[in-house]
């Protein structure tokens, strides 16, 4: 549905987005991650046709956004960053206006507005003017605007920004539900959101894609992914050091790090070519043999925030240096 090929945007000598390519199909929710100023919003603005790309193209449902903007925009719903809306209108007036711009009229328009209002929980403020609303309501008003015509493609720039935890949860549930039938791109810097909602995630840093995969694939890039954590209820008589020595003596084990001593918590890293399942089996066997009071044993999935930091941090540091 969404096809982005080598999209570039430069502002004078500054490269905001330096050649980004990806595809999003129907039924996919793509999480767009990156530090502030990485080019997430700029990319989204180019896809939605707000700013023209310097180079490359974005094709929405077969329509090039630069050559056939009206057709492409019809297929799309867009929630811009900071969720702008006309302050002097009521929620109902604003949604009716956007529905009308989307070509809906009469009872179809009424129905579309009702549907969006219900999905975004706006019933209580329907006849209030937008400027009197709290940030959360304003945000949801603009969100309602983006889904008013039940678009096939949704572009959401930080859809959960400024919402309270309950509202965040609602919006995530909504995105996940809509993601089954639509192609959705949403940007965020909340990593748990990516795990909760996305079928795929892209990490973008200083205008280029530095990682692209399912949340599980990305997590697997974390250094602790695949490691096994053990917890022993009672410290064995021989002492914690002996346990470590015993484990490191095993062929399949690369090294062991101590996370805590009361209770004993160890993280065991496998050598290459040893699967976490094999290692876990081996460890539980060893624990039985040695009669350790094994309380817990689980494989680490890796953590997205760690991956994120590993990928983007070196760059942020050098960027800081350049600025000085």
């Amino acid at each position: 549905m969404i096809q982005v090929r080598n999209l570039r945007k430069t502002f004078g000598p500054k490269v905001a987005v330096g050649g980004v390519s990806f595809k999003v199909e129907k039924g996919e929710v793509l999480g767009f991650l990156g530090p502030n100023g990485a080019g997430k919003s700029t990319t989204m603005r180019m896809i939605t046709g707000f700013i023209p790309p310097t180079d490359g193209e974005a094709v929405i449902g077969g329509f090039n956004i630069v050559e056939q903007p009206i057709e492409a925009k019809r297929l799309m719903g867009y929630l811009p960053e900071n969720a702008p809306s006309y302050a002097d209108m009521t929620v109902n007036g604003f949604l009716s206006f956007t529905a009308e711009l989307r070509g809906l009229s009469g009872s179809a328009q009424r129905k579309a507005v009702d549907r969006a209002v219900e999905m975004c929980f706006l019933e209580n403020v329907l006849h209030q003017s937008v400027e009197t609303l709290s940030k959360g309501y304003r945000h949801r008003t603009c969100f309602a605007q983006s889904i008013i015509h039940d678009p096939e493609v949704l572009i959401l720039d930080e859809p959960t920004d400024g919402l309270d935890p309950n509202q965040k949860h609602e919006v995530r549930t909504l995105i996940r539900k809509m993601g089954q039938t639509k192609a959705i791109i949403f940007s965020t810097h909340i990593l748990e959101e990516v795990e909760a909602v996305c079928s795929r995630a892209i990490i973008i840093d200083r205008g280029v894609i530095v990682a692209n995969g399912t949340p599980a694939e990305l997590k697997a890039r974390s250094p602790q992914a695949g490691a096994i954590t053990l917890r022993l209820g009672v410290e064995p008589k021989a002492g914690i050091k002996a346990v470590v020595a015993k484990l490191e003596g095993l062929n399949q084990v690369d090294h062991v790090s101590i996370l805590g001593s009361a209770p004993v918590e160890l993280r065991v890293f496998a050598r290459k070519n040893v699967s976490p399942a094999d290692l876990a089996g081996l460890l539980s066997e060893t624990a039985m043999k040695e009669q350790w009071a094994l309380q817990e044993l689980h494989a680490e999935e890796g953590r997205l925030d760690e991956v994120f930091r590993n990928i983007t941090l070196p760059d942020t540091k050098s960027a800081g240096k350049e600025n000085k």
Partner: protein, 244 residues
């Protein structure tokens, strides 16, 4: 065509939801009454014409029209709704024309509400109503020309005050280029044809001839081309500096 009307409708609700339209209409009516009856001496003239009424319009519009139009685009920029509007299935053209028509409607409404002056002059004497109609048409077109200039300056900045001042300056130039005290002064400095060429750019020259009842196509064309040119420039500005 449909999106233009949708946008015009929204803008009109915007004008009437905020005090902008009311303040404009009331002040316009008060000032035009004041200038017509107190300054221009409508009664003292003893003429059954609305010349006293129309002759002040270029000056009234100079400040009032930019006040109406200054928010047209700068407000969109400031609120960020420009991004919303331009990612809707609407061309920038439709948005520009829609917004312009809404503001022009407010001007037309204010102008229409001056009808008591017309009734008065018809009650007191036998004016040439054709000339008066021409005067209204000229005033409406002139208001549109100022408004389109304001649309252009408003698209350049997110600051309404800047938009207001710049459009007042441009409009003032368009008045002064053909204002008799200025042209009389210019005659001493430049060749007559230069002065005439400059005066041809002025709203004064064209408004005055329409107001006299001479509906010359060149005068109407002048106002229409100012409107088209300014709106075209607005389009260029909106499209080239969207994100700013």
């Amino acid at each position: 065509m449909k999106p233009i009307l949708t946008i015009t409708k929204r803008e009109l609700t915007g004008y009437f939801a905020s005090p902008v339209a009311f303040v404009f209409i009331v002040i316009f009516l008060m000032l035009s009454g004041f200038f017509t009856f107190m300054v221009a001496g409508f009664f003292e003239r003893g003429q059954a014409s609305l010349e006293a009424f129309f002759s002040w319009h270029p000056w009234l519009y100079l400040f009032l029209v930019p006040a109406v139009g200054m928010r047209m685009w700068s407000e969109e920029r400031r609120l960020g709704t420009l991004e919303l509007l331009l990612t809707m299935p609407v061309t920038p053209w439709q948005a520009i024309v829609g917004k312009f028509l809404a503001a022009w409607t407010v001007l037309a409404l204010a102008l229409g509400l001056t009808f008591p002056v017309w009734i008065t002059v018809n009650y007191l004497g036998n004016p040439d109503n054709g000339i008066i109609l021409a005067g209204y048409l000229g005033s409406f077109l002139m208001g549109g020309a100022y408004l389109s200039i304001t649309a252009m300056t408003s698209a350049m900045t997110r600051n309404q005050v800047v938009a207001f001042i710049v459009s007042v300056v441009i409009s003032l130039f368009l008045i002064l280029a053909g204002y008799p005290p200025v042209t009389n002064l210019l005659v001493h400095w430049a060749l007559p044809w230069v002065v005439e060429a400059i005066a041809a750019f002025s709203v004064m020259t064209h408004f005055e001839s329409i107001q006299k009842g001479v509906l010359d196509s060149r005068d109407i064309l002048y106002f229409l081309s100012v409107i088209v040119f300014s709106l075209f420039t607005t389009g260029v500005i909106v499209r080239t500096h969207r994100a700013g």
